[in-house]
Point group: C4
Chain length 200, copies 4
Amino acid sequence: MNQHFSKNRVEAFSDGIFAIIITLLVLEIKVPHIHEYNSTSELTKALISLLPKLIGWMISFFTVAVIWVNHHRIFGQFKHLDNGIFWWNALLLMWTSFIPFPTAVLGDYPNNLTSIILYGLVMSFMALSFTLMHKYALRNKNLLYDEIDLISFRKGTTYSFIFGPLMYLSGVFLGFIHPYLAFAVFLAIPVYFIFSENTK
Amino acid sequence: MNQHFSKNRVEAFSDGIFAIIITLLVLEIKVPHIHEYNSTSELTKALISLLPKLIGWMISFFTVAVIWVNHHRIFGQFKHLDNGIFWWNALLLMWTSFIPFPTAVLGDYPNNLTSIILYGLVMSFMALSFTLMHKYALRNKNLLYDEIDLISFRKGTTYSFIFGPLMYLSGVFLGFIHPYLAFAVFLAIPVYFIFSENTK
Amino acid sequence: MNQHFSKNRVEAFSDGIFAIIITLLVLEIKVPHIHEYNSTSELTKALISLLPKLIGWMISFFTVAVIWVNHHRIFGQFKHLDNGIFWWNALLLMWTSFIPFPTAVLGDYPNNLTSIILYGLVMSFMALSFTLMHKYALRNKNLLYDEIDLISFRKGTTYSFIFGPLMYLSGVFLGFIHPYLAFAVFLAIPVYFIFSENTK
Amino acid sequence: MNQHFSKNRVEAFSDGIFAIIITLLVLEIKVPHIHEYNSTSELTKALISLLPKLIGWMISFFTVAVIWVNHHRIFGQFKHLDNGIFWWNALLLMWTSFIPFPTAVLGDYPNNLTSIILYGLVMSFMALSFTLMHKYALRNKNLLYDEIDLISFRKGTTYSFIFGPLMYLSGVFLGFIHPYLAFAVFLAIPVYFIFSENTK
């Protein structure tokens, strides 16, 4: 039997999941209920009170976009996909598809340390799946394109992928001091990734 | 590391997002509750009262379809995708994936100026993302196919893409006079794009 | 500017929409609420009372699958896609993405003639979009592959595509006699298409 | 008319459906409502009480991933797709797209034998669709790639595909003794598939 996976189909399946998650995030933002239907000031006030949810949605949107970029980058170096890569990828997709839940919990309970810990832990597990997929690829070099520079590929692990889980955990720890510090870190992580990629 | 993005995957990811948004829009239209289950006149009346929501849904449907066409047109001229294009595209996708929210707000509060302003602003930001992506491509001509006529490409900016945000803002301003004027403009914009493309 | 559309992207966009619609249909079937959590007889009874909704879901599932097959068949004969085909296709997608709404109305009010008329009309408009797309292709033969037998292609119009709207309208008229007659026709149409294709 | 289906489009359509189902599963997990917004202990307790739902979600996630792998494996051996394969595939997709419903019922009524029977039956029907698709391919060998070893392909039927429905039915029967035995089997099936594939 064919041991390899069709890279096209695994990418299409993963892209579908990423696209759905990034789009579902907005469904958590519900139309506010106001009493005077035509009152502009009441509707404006109601919309402004949604601002924390909107910011949470933007953070999660760009976080999923960064996950997509990392996924695209690591898959761009695979010549073949075997069962191991497929199931590490499935683990990554599982944690990623879970993101709408901690995002919604954080949106409803932004000042509750438990929701900050939940968000940070889910993101750490997601980031850890990347690290494990990357480590697996390093132990199965026949999966990679021949021309890939293994030293810089290994460095990529140390910097980007171990960095990821650690950053999210540091956000959780700062949340013990003040919730806003955790928010700042959760926002800074995708922003850092976006700009570090743009200047490379 | 590979600096370029796989155009296929970015397009597949974007198409997935567009397809989901355009389909989610219909979920805002809820089955009406009537008291006499078998009364055809009561159900007919309830369905007719949904007409403003249905029109709003049709407008947003064709607006997203026009966004898809513009996306298809601009991406058709890219030979390569770099980080810049990717993140301007992510910004465009963010505003586009937000469209179900202002559409739902407008559907619930059609006579409220705040919901008209919200809808017009989100659409302007979406249209502005196109302008910025287009401007970025003009400053990075190596991303475009060699045979592209840069003068007509630059003209495309001036006409279609600066035009877009301005049209939505003019709809907002007309909304100050009467909500229906804003609706007329929001409907006219995709209709204009559909027919201007068909006669070209 | 490039007048033609990338067939791959239009198909991917359409397939995404079809896949989402066919999957969203199941969301209309809600978990029943029972009072005694561990009573198997109460849960069994509650599930059995969902049977009409389940049958409605199956009908709509196979109806969308048949739409996909017809879409696949007609697109398989296009060499190029122009603006006309794109917008007739957008109209088809609009009616198709609307299907979850009349399906839900019919599931909630199965004995109400209004919901039968709504379902039949939406399906007729959907089927009519196919007819119009097909007629447009016949007037723009340069869009079709050269080897296509135009006589059998035109016949295809007369039989499958004019047939479609008429069948749905006949279901509506039979609904005036008894709702179950309309259901039988709405079920018979996709079944007929499935088996007529299998025996060709 | 073209009797064959475009394998690319059928796969893209199927992948879209699989991606949506696997992502929708998480929507069943609702943000808990607590009374003291900032109480970490209350939110922690509420999240812990969601654990059975989370485990159910993980089981269904990996079950759909295993379905995807089996779909990928069987489609990898098809040279052509005809009407028969398409409609057996549609039947498989129908049962698969139904999975969120029995998963939600099982999550709400985990100790109710009826929900265990429902889950097991839906999974058996899903697995049976694979068996029937496989049997159809064996009777239409011209659909398979020439180099496929038919004896091992037939063996594949006996072991994996007849095995599937039987395993789910055995889970249902064990549920009559104790619900947890059924859960153990429903969890063991995807786990078995994942590791049996990894060691092959």
